[in-house]
């Protein structure tokens, strides 16, 4: 973080959340800072995606306890679209398709949610879009196609990152941006996210694997097991996990829930 930018924080305090009556998050406490890239790792079913959906406000994820403050504003008092406009972004693991809605129209509509006719800069929008397409090694013809319809797995992941780039959120949560991608695609997505990572914004990347972290170079790594953060550390923690597997987390701090 440089002294020239305003620092932003996303403070998650003792977050409990349930899905279909089953408690998945059991007291997550985590603070994200602008300028930092954070990785959230953990085995399947540990609650990583639940954290992402609960923060964004998915109707099936019920927050039962705790707060999430974006620069002091409680996200849980806002509707989904208001959270987005407040600066929160979620990159989906499985993005939805919308037939007949072109990607370009969608990006423009989302952009316009943050602008008025006076503040919108179509030239700047277009310039950035072209630049991002280049970083992501994407074909511009995708813009004219229906949103995510018939897109390959890699195209969908890139489109999520493209949306993040377009909307300039304060905090982005990317839910497994690397899953299902080949090595080249992981590199393209990883490098773009790293490039887009501005000093006035924070990014939380959810992943199982260390390989995307090679490009992202996270400042912090957290490990979630059974709905709580079990272990936190620097970049080296990811490498250790890669080498030893998640099992090592449990024996090391088996009673760490309290």
């Amino acid at each position: 973080m440089t002294a020239l930018t305003t620092p932003h924080t996303l403070v998650i305090e003792n977050l409990h959340a349930e899905v279909a009556g089953k408690e998945i998050l059991r007291g997550v406490t985590l603070t994200l800072h602008s300028g930092e890239l954070t990785a959230l790792m953990g085995p399947n079913g540990s609650g990583k995606s639940t954290l992402a959906y609960a923060l964004m406000g998915h109707p099936k994820y019920k927050v039962t306890q705790g707060r999430a403050l974006l620069d002091g504003q409680d996200l849980f008092k806002l509707s989904v679209d208001q959270r987005s406009k407040a600066g929160l972004f979620l990159g989906f693991q499985y993005p939805q398709e919308v037939s007949g809605l072109s990607l370009s129209k969608f990006l423009w509509t989302a952009y316009m949610q943050r602008h008025t006719a006076q503040t919108a800069d179509t030239a700047e929008f277009d310039r950035e879009l072209q630049a991002h397409l280049g970083y992501l090694e994407m074909d511009g013809s995708l813009l004219k196609r229906s949103l995510n319809e018939g897109f390959s797995g890699g195209e969908k992941k890139r489109v999520e990152v493209l949306q993040m780039a377009t909307l300039h959120p304060l905090f982005s949560i990317l839910d497994e941006p690397d899953s299902g991608l080949d090595i080249d695609a992981v590199r393209a997505v990883g490098e773009t996210v790293a490039k887009l990572h501005r000093p006035d914004a924070g990014i939380l990347v959810i992943t199982h694997y260390q390989r995307i972290l090679k490009y992202l170079k996270p400042d912090r790594v957290h490990v979630m097991v059974d709905g709580i953060i079990q272990l936190s550390g620097g970049r080296e923690l990811a490498e250790e996990l890669e080498a030893k597997g998640y099992d090592f987390v449990r024996p090391v701090v088996p009673q760490a829930t309290n």
């Binding site: 987005s84 406009k85 939805q96 509509t109």
Partner: protein, 833 residues
């Protein structure tokens, strides 16, 4: 900027929704108008106005005879409520042959109407020719000079009959014969206006030709006839826009549509006295309406929340002590002393007393004696007018034991007509039938009490007779239709009727007798009998009051009744609300019998009928595209026959969008009659509350190597219904046919309904046929995804719907695409949140 589509960029610039743009209405002034109703002489009169050649008159009359004989379709949505005699079949704001070619020459109100709809602008910017039809009359037709220099003909069909008879006679009625269906017969009999287009061989008309149709008057039918001929190798795109009619409101105890209320017309005020309307007004309203249900449920009414209602708040008249019995906490003395005040509808509470004044207007009519009123009472309950062997007769049916009533009625008939009525026993039905042949009595009953059970209604003369005379009519009406039973020490007097008007009139007549009668409504329902038959019960109104013991809920106060409110609810409403000012100091009028201040009341409607016929001829290697954007107001029956013939190598495309109307039945067809002919049909339906859109397409392959593609997309929302009804026919000998049908339905809120009825008749084995049908919902995940990018829920749904319709929208001229966008936005605003 290239990346962003034009329509979206423009859509973002659209300032707040302005639905009023279409929902306005001009005074009904016509140079030529035939009174409502349909008969042979109406058909002859239309032809005479048009000074037609005899072959056209003969054609019309043949079609009329077929129309009369032809039954209503026994499939599809119910058209049972259509009363062909309630429409005006010809109303022309100008004289025949007066069609203008210069916009400035149009009468100001018509010019104004079409300017609000953007027509001169459309002509300037997009189209090669424009036509405009206002009710029956083609008021304007113009074609660009360069097109007419190439030999393109574009005029109204009436003019074509006169100026191009050789072409018209060759094609008229050849593609859609008058006896194709009941409504093509109707159109063929009474048609007026429509477009005639002829494109000579090899000519490409280039920019589209455009016509606008508008129904302005209430209960006017529009029956345009369009004929489009593309000669060999010619190309044309024709676009028609069908635009809404302003809707109507019922107010006052006569339940008159507000549009029928004109300045100077008498209405009742809260004193039960007549006053006159000084000024009428309409405004758009977007918000919640308040539904007020008094203890007489049938009198429920709706108002905007700020609308003042004349009432006595219950809290001002409660007794000092509380009791648990409903309605009994009121101090009768306080109530009688209280003076009613105006309270905004939104501030009313259940239990407050609304004010039902007794109509005190009295005009005696010496011609109405005991016999006449006795007869009318029995007629309301048991009578009907009919023609037996061509002679006018009035008949009544009684139970076999009701001999006293038969005697009383027979005496009345004898006195009125001087004839002895017959009385025929029908033991197998336990009935006795009483009747008389009398043209005078037939006319009298029709005029003063109406015809069918559902439309029985007393005339104004009868409603204003002195109460002591009306008492005679009530007595015999209750003899016939009433029943009586004891309850709580009193006797309940009850009549049931399917006529809404009559129910309210009986309530008013009882009020004049000093009795407040309650109206209850039983909604229509279907009952399945043990043998599997279904019996449909109509909406039934019960009017009842109790004699012998004072009914506690409703109190008499001078010349009015004070009626407690049973229930208050609210619902969102988007559209126009109406009001009017009345003369005098009283400043009130009556809604469903209750006093309200000069202000607003919601919309009800009477219907209009649009039955067009469109014939398209695609000569070899021609290309014709016919685009329709239909946004009739929601009281229009839209029953249209559209058919094209495509000869060798020709391409015919229908792009057919149906957003408006009450009921639409329309199945654009292409008959592929030459080798290699192609059909492309894109049909879109959007049905919201109260709408049934039954649409589809037909492709009839009768030549080899022909192909057809049908895409039908429908959205049913807020209880609307859509159906796809399609026919794919491959005739013997039509080898190498390719046909593809795709039906996509979207049910965004799961309250709508969508059905698919595809019929395939394939007589050649080598035909390649594909059929897909998908019914979709808008998923929670999809909405969440879009909302996570900052879109509100309604914007998200709107984008999904527009995406669903994108295939259609991209085929439309920009103005229409924007209009579609706005329309869906408006419907969504009502559906979400």
């Amino acid at each position: 900027m290239e990346l962003v589509e034009v329509t979206m960029a423009q859509a973002n610039e659209i300032t707040p929704l302005d639905y009023t743009r279409y929902d306005f209405k001009n005074p009904e002034t016509y140079r030529l108008r035939i009174p409502k109703g349909l008969s042979r002489s109406v058909v002859e009169q239309i032809s005479k106005f048009k000074d037609e050649p005899s072959w056209m008159l003969e054609y019309r009359l043949r079609a009329y005879d077929h129309f009369v004989e032809r039954p209503m379709p026994d499939w599809g949505p119910s058209l049972a409520e259509i009363d062909f005699d309630s429409y005006t079949y010809y109303a022309n704001p100008m004289l025949e042959g007066e069609t203008k070619r210069k916009w400035e020459d149009l009468p100001a109100d018509i010019k104004n109407t079409f300017e609000k709809l953007g027509i001169p602008k459309a002509e300037r910017e997009y189209f090669g020719g424009v036509g405009a039809q206002y009710d029956s009359g083609t008021v304007y037709h113009k074609i660009r000079e360069d097109l007419s220099a190439k030999g393109v003909l574009f005029c109204d069909t009436d003019t074509a009959v006169k100026e191009h008879p050789e072409i018209v006679r060759k094609y008229f009625g050849r593609i859609v014969p008058y006896n194709d269906n009941k409504f093509s017969a109707l159109n063929s009999a009474v048609w007026s206006g429509g477009s005639f287009v002829y494109i000579p061989p090899g000519v490409d008309a280039g920019i589209p030709l455009q016509a606008y149709f508008r129904i302005n008057a209430k209960n006017v039918g529009q029956f345009e006839r369009t004929l489009i001929i593309a000669d060999k190798g010619a190309k044309v795109h024709y676009i028609e826009g069908c635009l809404p009619l302003g809707e109507e409101v019922l107010v006052g105890d006569q339940l008159t549509p507000i549009e029928a209320i004109e300045t100077g017309q008498p209405v009742l005020n809260s004193d039960g006295l007549e006053t006159t309307v000084e000024k009428t007004m309409v405004r758009p309203f977007d918000g919640e309406l308040v539904h007020i249900t008094p203890v007489s449920v049938g009198n429920a009414f709706e108002l905007t929340p700020e609308h003042p209602v004349y009432c006595i708040p219950r809290r001002k008249v409660v007794a000092g002590h509380r009791t648990h019995r409903q309605w009994s906490d009121v101090d009768p003395e306080k109530l009688l002393k209280a003076s009613p005040e105006f309270i905004p509808a939104g501030d009313l509470e259940p239990g407050d007393f609304v004010h039902y004044p007794i109509n005190r207007t009295e005009r005696d009519e010496p011609g109405f004696g005991t016999a006449a009123l006795t007869l009318l009472g029995y007629y309301l309950s048991e009578g009907c007018v009919q023609k037996i062997n061509g002679c006018e007769a009035v008949t009544f049916t009684f139970h076999i034991e009701e001999t006293r009533f038969v005697a009383e009625l027979s005496a009345a008939i004898q006195e009125l007509t001087g004839k002895t009525p017959w009385a025929a026993q029908q033991p197998e039905k336990h009935a006795v039938s009483v009747g008389v042949y009398s043209k005078e009595l037939y006319g009298f009953c029709l005029q003063h009490a109406g015809k069918l059970a559902g439309q029985k209604q007393l005339s104004k003369v009868v409603m204003e007779l002195p109460p002591e005379k009306q008492r005679i009519l009530l007595a015999t009406y209750y003899n016939g239709d009433g029943n009586f039973y004891d309850r709580n020490g009193g006797t309940v007097h009850r009549v049931m009727t399917v006529s809404r008007q009559l129910a309210f009139q009986v309530q008013e007549l009882q009020a004049r007798q000093g009795v407040f009668a309650t109206i209850n409504v039983r909604e229509p329902f279907d009952e399945t009998m043990p043998d599997g038959r279904t019996i449909s019960h109509r909406r039934m109104y019960t009017v009842y009051h109790q004699v012998g013991k004072h009914a506690e809920a409703v109190r008499r106060a001078g010349d009015a009744f004070l009626v407690p409110i049973r229930q208050i609810s609210r619902s969102p409403y988007h559209g126009n609300v109406y009001n009017f000012h009345v003369a005098g100091d009283n400043n009130t009028y009556l809604v469903k019998g209750f006093s309200v201040h000069n202000c607003t009341a919601p919309i009800y409607s009477t219907d209009s009928l649009h039955a067009a016929v469109v014939e398209v001829v695609g000569e070899p290697f021609s290309k014709v595209r016919y685009t329709t954007v239909q946004n009739w107001s929601k009281n229009v029956y839209n029953l249209v026959t559209k058919r094209a013939v495509a000869y060798e190598g020709a391409l015919v495309e229908w792009v057919d969008g149906n957003m408006g109307s009450k009921i639409t039945m329309k199945y654009p067809s292409v008959y592929l009659k030459g080798r290699g002919a192609r059909a492309d049909i894109l049909s879109v339906a959007f049905a919201s509350q109260g709408q049934i859109i039954d649409s589809g397409a037909k492709a009839v392959h009768s030549a080899p190597d022909t192909s057809s593609k049908i895409v039908a997309k429908s959205i049913a929302i807020r209880g609307g219904q859509t159906s796809y009804r399609g026919l794919l026919h491959v005739a013997p000998g039509a080898t190498g046919v390719k046909a593809a049908v795709r039906c996509d339905a979207l049910l965004p809120d799961e309250s709508g309904r969508s059905d698919t009825y595809p019929y395939n008749e394939i007589h050649e084995e080598d035909a390649t046929i594909t059929h897909e049908a998908v019914v979709g919902k808008i998923g929670e995940e999809q909405i969440f995804y879009l909302m996570s990018r900052g879109l509100t829920e309604s914007d998200a749904i709107h984008l999904i719907l527009m995406g669903f319709l994108a295939e259609f929208a991209k085929e439309l001229p920009v103005d229409y695409a924007l209009e579609l966008n706005r329309l869906i936005q408006l419907e969504m605003a009502g559906a979400v949140g």
